[in-house]
Amino acid sequence: MSEDSGTTKPRIRAKARVVPIAVDDDSLYEVRQKVYPRAVSGVFAHWRWALVWFTQILYYGLCWLPWNDRQAVLFHLVERKFYIFGWVFWPQDVFYLAVLLIISAFSLFLFTAVAGRLWCGYACPQTVYTEIFMWIEEKIEGDRARRMKLDAAPASPRKFAIKAAKYGAWGAVSLWTGITFVGYFTPIRELLPAMFQFDIGGWELFWALFYGGFTYLMAGVMREQVCKYMCPYARFQSVMFDADTLTITYDTLRGEPRGSRRKGEDHRAAGKGDCVDCGICVQVCPTGIDIRNGLQIECIGCAACIDACDQVMDKMNYPPGLIRYSTENAIRQKWDGRAILRHVLRPRVLIYSTALLILCVAFLWSLSTRSALRVDVIKDRRTLAREVEGEFIENVYTLQMMNMAERAQRFGIQVSGIDGARIDGASEVGMDPEQNRSLTLRVRTPMDAAPKGSHAIYFEVKGLDDPDLHAREKSVFTMP
């Protein structure tokens, strides 16, 4: 939606206006005007709050959930293991993390192609914490007008007290957020008592304050600037948009020419559009933009302007939806909801969906068939083979065994591939829960079992308590 592209294409912006971001070459940013968003209620505000509750109950609560005598979700850096409910992931499982990241990326592509910045508007931590911080601000400092008045007022004990209360409440939320964050890496049920006894490790304290401090800075102080200047997604999301992407759109054809009017006046006859130019859509915007200027990079898709405008339309007895979720094509060709939905299933969306589906199925399949036993066989390179007792050839191997289950297991080991091959010594091994063990095995074959050279040999490891656990590894047996 750049200003100078597509000369013959009808524009949906009636009064497009370029807001310069760079004032000159040296200063990279315009001087920030503090945004005082006005609180808003309505359908989309309810959705936003539902998502705040959902994500934050998840975030603050999940670290307290127990599972088999341990924390259900714990990224235990000290032990280098990630616990997620029944699963234990080892560094060897980084593959799953990579696939999970790819799935997240494709989900983001899909959601963005269908309905724009859903992530930004409803689920991004920046939005969620800003929402919480703005709620605290509104409760302590009052509504938009009172906040502006307070900021403009000279310093006074009352102003100081109000500001101190607000910063104190923000600080408390931030601190708890920081402690919770550290609680995902150090068991929180041990962390918190240690904290109250001032017995917390220096790094734990540091990271709690670091994360808490940045929560405060980003949700309390920087707010929309994070989205405007720091967020990489905001910069590249435009490549995922097309003319059929649902975005928050001001219906220019219906709204313009805007202007004030008396209630009950036949504004159509007076040549006016439905926009009463009350400016409330601008006041509620957390990034301080005017949606009537068209889709802008600053718009995080929070839909606050939709709620605000619908309330005004309701007061004026006009139909709602002057600002609504719509697409560029729909506005231009005056499509109804069904026509918009028909255009959702376009090649881009189908490709993203297919890729996402395949990845998800592969991920779940791989996760459900993941074995808790892992075996690596390493042949001893120092002595390739030796003759023992005048009738056997012996090769030595090291078995790297991992029992990734959270319970002790016994395993039986067998060799096959060469006639008469057997393990000299114990062929059973017991392993503790989550144990890594390396085992030296001597394998003997009769001297005449195979001709001179290298022969394939197979190590079969089977769980004695759990026959589903088995591994078969190939190695080489050398006959001198």
């Binding site: 070459d25 040296d26 990279l28 940013y29 850096l77 000290v78 280098r80 560094p91 980084v94 993390l97 890496f185 150090t186 490790g201 790094w203 734990e204 540091f206 990271w207 200047y229 720091m230 990489p232």
Partner: protein, 78 residues
């Protein structure tokens, strides 16, 4: 704001580098100036992160410095 431009992308990349590096390398297997690193794992991870951040920030700073527009006569703009 220029500070953000240096510190933020480097923070981002340092986080990725940290995750990748310590997935592949166990902190107990590290040697510093010939001595095994015997700090607590959390300390190793933390120091590692800040080392990555510092290096990435240095790179961002150098990029910022070189990206400054040249004024007439070839001297960089103030």
């Amino acid at each position: 704001m220029k500070l953000v431009l240096v510190l933020w992308p480097s923070f981002f990349v340092a986080g990725l580098a940290e995750a990748l590096f310590f997935t592949l390398v166990n902190p107990h297997e590290l040697y510093l100036l010939g001595q095994p690193v015997d700090w607590s794992p959390l300390a190793t991870y933390s120091v590692g992160f800040f080392a990555f951040w510092f290096v990435c920030a240095a790179s961002s700073l150098a990029t910022m410095f070189l990206a400054r527009p040249l004024q007439e006569g070839g001297s960089p703009a103030a």
